[in-house]
């Protein structure tokens, strides 16, 4: 039949055999709505003349994007949202502090594999972590989905990403997906579905990291093949046709760093070593889970972060927060000097919980480093893995985390002392001192593809 996973799913839900390029109207198994678009969604429903959503049991509502409310205007919008949820009698509602919509959607089982889910957030691609076709849409599309229980889609072409080998110590699937973004670019998967092969048996969190970041390549959806949640029929045909095939060897993967202000300006960490940072953000739907906090805690256990550096930790959900409390991870991070935020999006999108000042340089584990994303348009955001984040918090600079994970206590202390000693003076008066993003952008442009590519 030579169908990709996207073609398999959309054929099944639309009840006809469709191929890439076909325009279809499909039923939706779930609609996800979050706080920052609720006014437009409610407005859209009202304009449509629909008083009620089509099926309250298929709607999930979250307060996470600016939560808890940072200003009276936001607080008022949250109030409107709560009233609407009550009035509509929507049973699935997660208020401020419960976590990021995408994490909860996946870990609490709201994403049915093999179905189409519409979300009001661009990272709704995350639902591909369990084999669902999750597509982010704007508020009016979401209002229409809420009213009709259907949406229109053009069946996407697909790009196959095959991972081979096993990750080495200190390297994560965050590095792997950044390597993929480096290869494909911010628009290389535009309108397409990215299909991940060879990683179906990874922990669910790693699969969310992969699927969610397909948004950064312009993808309509990102789906992991062969997950434990997927029924047997949910797989692409062996002779499926792809727009492009990319193979990434995990065995030889280096830690990756995205250089501001583009997510696809990615370099091996060796090019960025010594880059000073002022603030480190560990969190988001990409990297705010227990395992991410554990990786940071492995580096920070029994130590304090560098002077003049701040560390913000924001768990991606209450479940992940509780797990990190139970196993002592949170205690380690707090003792190291971290600010612990309530579960949610945190400062990822620059609205609440420790936003960036002008000239500040951040190392973030999230997924976007656009100008102004986390606060001031004159701040810079580097993106990396939780291990890289922890080392940056500890030393005040970007460094390869692997030597720290292998070192004896004495060697570890020497590494930290050396990096701290080398860190250039920074402060409010040092206009942009030490930001190497310009130079690194050149480096990323020069470094050709290092992975094996089947085009």
């Amino acid at each position: 039949m030579s169908r990709t996973l996207a073609e398999v799913i959309i054929s099944r839900v639309s009840g006809r055999d469709v191929r890439a390029g076909d325009l279809v109207i499909v039923p939706i198994s779930r609609v996800m709505v979050h706080d920052s678009v609720i006014d437009a969604v409610i407005g859209g429903l009202r304009e449509l003349g629909r008083e009620r959503v089509w099926d309250t049991s298929k709607v999930c509502v979250f307060v996470d994007h600016a939560a808890p409310a940072p200003t009276p205007v936001v607080a008022d919008s949250h109030r409107v949202l709560r009233e609407w949820v009550r009035e509509q009698q929507i049973p699935t509602f997660y208020d401020a502090g419960e976590g990021v919509c995408h994490q909860i959607m996946v870990e609490e089982g709201y994403c049915e594999p093999g179905t189409v889910i519409v979300g009001s957030d661009s990272h709704s691609n995350s639902y591909g972590a369990v084999g669902a076709f999750g597509a982010g849409m704007g508020a009016t599309d979401v209002a229409v989905a809420l009213a009709l229980g259907r949406t229109w889609l053009r069946v996407p072409e697909s790009i196959k990403v095959d991972f081979t080998g096993r990750l080495r110590r200190g390297i994560t699937m965050k590095d792997a997906i950044m390597r993929v973004v480096r290869e494909i670019g911010t628009d290389g998967a535009r309108y397409a579905c990215v299909e991940f092969h060879g990683v179906g048996d990874l922990p669910q969190g790693d699969r969310i990291t992969l699927a969610g970041m397909t948004t950064e390549m312009g993808a309509k959806a990102g789906i992991v093949v062969g997950t434990p949640e997927s029924p047997a029929w949910l797989r692409p045909d062996p002779d499926a046709r792809y727009l492009r095939e990319v193979t990434i060897d995990l065995e030889t993967l280096e830690p990756q760093i995205a250089v501001p202000p583009r997510v696809d300006q990615v370099v091996d960490i060796s090019a960025a070593i010594g880059q000073p940072v002022d603030i480190v953000f560990l969190g988001s739907c990409t990297n705010g889970r227990l395992v991410d906090m554990q990786q940071a805690a492995r580096v920070l256990r029994g130590r304090r972060i560098a002077p003049h550096v701040r560390l913000e930790v924001v768990p991606s959900s209450r479940r992940q927060y509780d797990l990190a409390m139970q196993d002592g991870t949170m205690q380690i991070l707090s003792a190291a000097g971290a600010v612990i935020g309530s579960s949610g999006c945190g400062p990822c999108l620059g609205r609440t919980g420790g936003v960036l000042a002008a000239q500040e340089i951040c190392l973030s584990t999230a997924n976007r480093n656009y100008k102004g994303r986390m606060g001031s348009p004159d701040a810079s955001i580097y993106i990396g893995s939780p291990y890289v984040a922890a080392v940056a918090a500890l030393t005040g600079v970007i460094d390869d985390p692997r030597p720290y994970l292998e070192a004896t206590d004495d060697e570890f202390d020497a590494l930290v002392a050396r990096r701290r000693g080398e860190r250039p003076e920074r402060g409010a008066a040092s206009s942009r001192s030490g930001d190497r993003s310009r130079e690194l952008v050149m480096a990323s442009a020069r470094s050709g593809p290092a992975a094996e590519i089947d085009d």
């Binding site: 706080d35 205007v73 936001v74 599309d141 009709l148 628009d187 620059g350 102004g372």
Partner: protein, 163 residues
């Protein structure tokens, strides 16, 4: 005559309206006044109804925020002509009734500040230095646009256009 506002590749929605100026941060009546406040100061004050935005590849990438398009709509932007569009931005334009039209050469031919005329029926964007061919839009999108957006379409017809 409409003026052209020319942008480059990969213009993201954070540049159009930064997250900190979302409607629910500053109010429904103000967010559009912050359009391009960092990336193109003065845009929100100077843009006139009917003006045309011209861009390169992947126009409107990034966040799904519809208020980026809503801001352009409120400011009266007549159409967006770009080499290619990010998918959510494209949907948002159609849904809110702003034509989002592909053109391979508009961004090369049109200069910022040019007086331009868009003739969708003839498939051209005319500028002082020449005419750029624009791609016809899919009938499905055209039907929604001619109704003034998806809400108006659904109110009138009760369902999506036929596929």
């Amino acid at each position: 005559m409409p003026r052209a506002w020319v942008f480059g590749d990969d213009l993201d929605t954070d540049q159009m309206v930064p997250g900190r100026y979302a409607p629910f941060m500053v109010g429904q009546d103000k967010f559009h006044t912050y359009a391009f406040c960092d990336a193109r100061p003065g845009f929100a004050k100077e843009v006139r109804p009917g003006d045309i935005m011209v861009g390169g590849e992947n126009f409107g990438c990034g966040s799904s925020r519809e208020y980026a398009v809503a801001a352009l709509k409120k400011l009266g932007v007549g159409a967006v002509v770009a080499k290619s569009f990010a998918r959510i931005f494209f949907r948002n334009c159609i849904n809110l009734g702003i034509p989002a039209i592909e053109s391979a050469d508009a961004v090369e031919i049109v200069r910022d500040g040019d007086d331009v005329t868009l003739d969708v029926a003839a498939g051209v964007l005319r500028a002082p230095r020449g005419a750029a061919a624009v791609r016809p839009m899919a009938p499905f999108a055209q039907e929604i646009l001619s109704a003034g957006g998806v809400v108006a379409y659904l109110r009138a017809h009760g369902d999506f256009p036929r596929v």
